[in-house]
């Protein structure tokens, strides 16, 4: 997920070309207070004229407690991006309040309530504590994301490359997302020149369950894709498992073995996930 400041037309118009799976068009932290209105108008017009190709488009609005949040929703909701991202989400109640406003605007424009997702950004200690109820408060909640920089600030700690201070938050947020079967996106890696550090952090994020990672520079996209893309060996193994599963299922067998190792439903599900990532279909 590539962050793009909502007041930067040069970056916005090229947003779709870098191969990111999704774009986060930002009206919040990336935009200075005196540019908020300009950014909103720019984004509203640009989203109607620029092709972002295959990338999903999410818009991060300002918090409803600011003078800009409601105006952001009024401008962006009618355009029905893939998702609205809500910053500093701290409770299910406030997210529900946001969704009610979104649905009021959708009604005014005769838009359905089931197309656009809401992504909750967890970046305060309170948000981390309430994340399970936030994730499950509405079927419109399609993803959770963690905001590492704001969270460390809220915790009064310094962000360190090993992520020690936010490790608990990371895992708690992942667990909430997994419980509700929604996506969960890891925070940005701030040092754009440290490719090795980015690889390490992305590998860790993948290992603990994040389904993706946010980036602040397009140069980081390929690195993250590389980490998340299954290797040829992983795909070969997964293919074999799923194929054997399908063959055995035809024969009425639920549990079987490959190379002496038992294959049951969870293993098959994991293998199918790898094949889905690699866009591989198994035929028997």
């Amino acid at each position: 997920m590539l962050y793009i400041p909502g007041n930067n037309p040069a970056m916005l118009q090229q947003g779709g070309v870098y191969g990111a799976d999704s774009l986060l068009l930002d009206l919040e932290d990336a935009v200075a207070l005196n540019q908020k209105d300009a950014a909103r108008i720019l984004l509203r017009n640009l989203m109607q004229s620029i092709d972002f190709y295959d990338a999903e488009v999410c818009v991060r609005i300002n918090h409803l407690s600011t003078p800009f949040g409601l105006a952001d929703l009024e401008a962006i909701v009618p355009l029905q991006p893939h998702a609205i991202r809500y910053p500093k989400t701290e409770s299910a109640e406030e997210l529900m309040a946001l969704i009610q406003i979104i649905e009021r605007i959708e009604d005014e424009h005769n838009l359905p309530h089931d197309q656009m997702e809401v992504h909750a950004m967890i970046e305060t200690a309170l948000g981390v504590q309430n994340v399970f109820s936030i994730a499950g408060c509405s079927p419109r909640v399609g993803a959770l994301t963690i905001g590492g920089q704001d969270l460390t600030a809220d915790m009064n700690i310094v962000y360190t490359p090993d992520g020690a201070g936010i490790d608990f938050a990371r895992k708690r947020i992942v667990m909430a997302a997994k419980a509700w079967k929604i996506d969960v996106i890891d925070t940005v890696f701030p040092d754009i020149n440290d490719e090795e550090g980015l690889i390490k952090e992305t590998e860790y994020a993948k290992k603990i369950g994040f389904t993706g990672k946010a980036v602040i520079n397009p140069r980081q996209i390929d690195v993250i894709h590389e980490v998340y893309t299954p290797t040829d060996e992983e795909i070969r193994k997964a293919y074999k498992i799923v194929k054997e599963f399908l063959v055995n299922r035809e024969a009425g067998i639920g549990v079987f073995a490959i190379d002496g190792k038992m294959i049951d439903a969870p293993v098959v599900a994991r293998a199918q996930y790898i094949l889905d990532l690699a866009n591989v279909t198994v035929e028997i």
Binding site: V17, Y18, G19, S49, P218, R219
Partner: protein, 518 residues
């Protein structure tokens, strides 16, 4: 008369002569011989142990017996750090020599100080592969009576061989030379690497002056320029600004846009069918074009592919690939950074070549003919795949033909990389302002928005699609980009021709008109 690309070409220009229209990238060469004769090189003599050393450049130039109407040549290996050309032209101007034909292999911003000599008719004719800076702007606005003639690097050699350019005096700056004029650019405080473009000047000029800031004991090795062609040798305090000649190592761009384009281009190369054991490769020194080398390097390592040779303008990145064993050899006609000079001096597989061997179309096989893959930049491209590398969007002459058309003509796969728009200016046009490289010699154009395949090379499109690469029709891409940027206002020109663009075979591929807006 119209040439094969539909550009209107005058049949004759007073002061230039008869012009031959471009017929096609390989049309003229396909006969196998050339009607133009090779003119004889001058025969000269010196007596045994006669000193060639002069006390000053002034003295050396005086000994060369400069005359009104003469032709003087320079090389551009010192890039934007060169001070010798301006120094020499100042001397000639002060001597009152007029009506000079300046045939520098390229002109850079550092040559801006000669603009007054154009305005006062000290210089009345220019041959060069590139013109930039104030000179380019002034010439585009009609500063000269005669059009400048833009040639390719290979075309320059051909033009000298056939007598289109007849050098009276050649001034060759060298970072090391001996008292007899054996000279090189590969070492010394002002090292610039290969001196390949100057070899033809040394061979054909009636009087050749070597200028160095590093006189070494005889013999100066390597013998990049050999003493048998050199009349005089001058030692000066400095031949140029070393920080602008060559410094450090070339770094790959950090620009996400350039990297995106480069990655797409490298993917296209990988699936083109030409990325295989023993392939040969040339890549430019800047932006996206050099960044392609980064991705090709990774692919070569991953797939354990070893190339044959790298050619042309050489960066430290090419040297790294040579040292890693990814290529067998570098043939170097021009070096771009200090690290390259060291490699050229020390590594026997890093070989200095003259421009004639590099790209002259009038011989039995220059090295560009042996190229598999070349990656080139562009100022503009059009829907017919023609490429402009000489005039900018505002109509000014501001670039260089260089080896663009030479390598495109020779390579099995010519990949042109450019953004689809710069600032608010679309780069893909219906018709480029100035054609330097004809579309028939360009296989693919890669922008950040995908790979455009020349319909003449359909097999490539099939390869790319099978590999899942993003292929876009160039007309569709143009429409998309125009939708983002709008269509640029048309520039206004007078009917005065200020530049002739020679194709490498000497035919005229395009003309440049004077900008109406001053």
């Amino acid at each position: 008369m119209k040439n094969a690309l539909g550009r209107e070409i005058p049949e004759y220009i007073e002061g230039i002569g008869k012009l031959e229209p471009f017929e096609g990238a390989w049309a003229k060469l396909s006969k196998g011989w050339m009607d133009e004769p090779t003119i004889p090189a001058p025969n000269k003599a010196t007596l045994p142990h006669q000193s060639k050393l002069c006390d000053s450049l002034q003295e050396a130039i005086e000994k060369a017996n400069p005359k009104n109407g003469m032709t003087i040549t320079f090389h551009h290996h010192l890039r934007d750090g060169d001070i010798i050309l301006v120094m020499a032209m100042n001397i000639l101007h002060d001597m009152g020599i007029r009506d000079i034909t300046l045939a520098a292999s390229s002109l850079n911003d550092c040559h801006d100080p000669i603009l007054p000599f154009i305005q006062d008719k000290t210089i009345t004719k220019i041959w060069s592969s590139g013109i930039r800076g104030k000179l380019g702007r002034a010439i585009s606005r009609g500063a000269m009576d005669l059009p400048v003639i833009i040639h390719s690097h290979g075309g320059r050699v051909r033009a000298i061989h056939t007598g289109r350019i007849q050098p009276d005096i050649a001034i060759i700056a060298a970072s090391a030379a001996d008292c007899e004029g054996n000279a090189t650019g590969s070492h010394g405080k002002s090292a610039f690497g290969s001196i390949g473009y100057a070899v033809i000047d040394a061979r054909y000029a009636k009087h050749v002056i070597v200028v160095t800031d590093n006189l070494v004991p005889y013999p100066c090795i390597p013998l990049s320029i050999t003493q048998n062609f050199i009349d005089t040798v001058v030692v000066v305090d400095s031949i140029g600004d070393t920080s602008k000649i060559a410094s450090g190592t070339t770094r790959i761009t950090n620009s996400p846009m350039d990297l995106r384009i480069a990655k797409l281009a490298a993917d296209a190369i990988e699936y083109s069918g030409y990325f295989e054991q023993g392939f040969s490769f040339q890549v430019g020194a800047g932006g996206a074009s050099l960044a392609v080398a980064k991705f090709i390097r990774e692919k070569m390592k991953k797939q354990q592919i070893k190339g044959s040779f790298m050619l042309g303008g050489v960066t430290s990145y090419c040297v790294d690939m040579l040292e890693e064993g990814l290529f067998e050899t570098i043939f170097d006609v021009q070096s771009f950074d200090a690290a390259v000079s060291k490699s050229l001096f020390n590594n026997r597989r890093h070989i200095e070549i003259p421009a004639a061997l590099y790209a002259n179309p009038f011989n039995c096989g220059c090295m560009t003919n042996k190229l598999d893959i070349v990656v080139l930049g562009a100022l503009e491209v059009d829907v017919d795949f023609n490429v402009n590398v000489i005039t900018g969007s505002e109509g000014n002459i501001r670039g260089a033909s260089g080896g663009h058309s030479d390598t495109a003509s020779g390579a099995n796969l010519t990949v042109v990389v450019c953004p689809s728009f710069r600032g608010r200016i679309p780069i893909i046009k219906n018709s480029v302002h100035t054609i330097v490289t004809p579309g028939e010699s360009v296989h693919v154009i890669v922008t950040e928005r995908g790979i455009c395949v020349n319909p003449l090379y359909k097999h490539l499109e099939e390869n790319f699609r099978k590999a899942g690469l993003k292929v876009v029709d160039i007309h569709d891409l143009k429409k998309e980009v125009d939708g983002i940027t709008g269509i640029s206002r048309k520039l206004k020109f007078t009917d005065k021709i200020v530049g002739l663009v020679e194709y490498r075979d000497g035919t005229i591929i395009d003309v440049i008109y004077e900008l109406e807006e001053k």
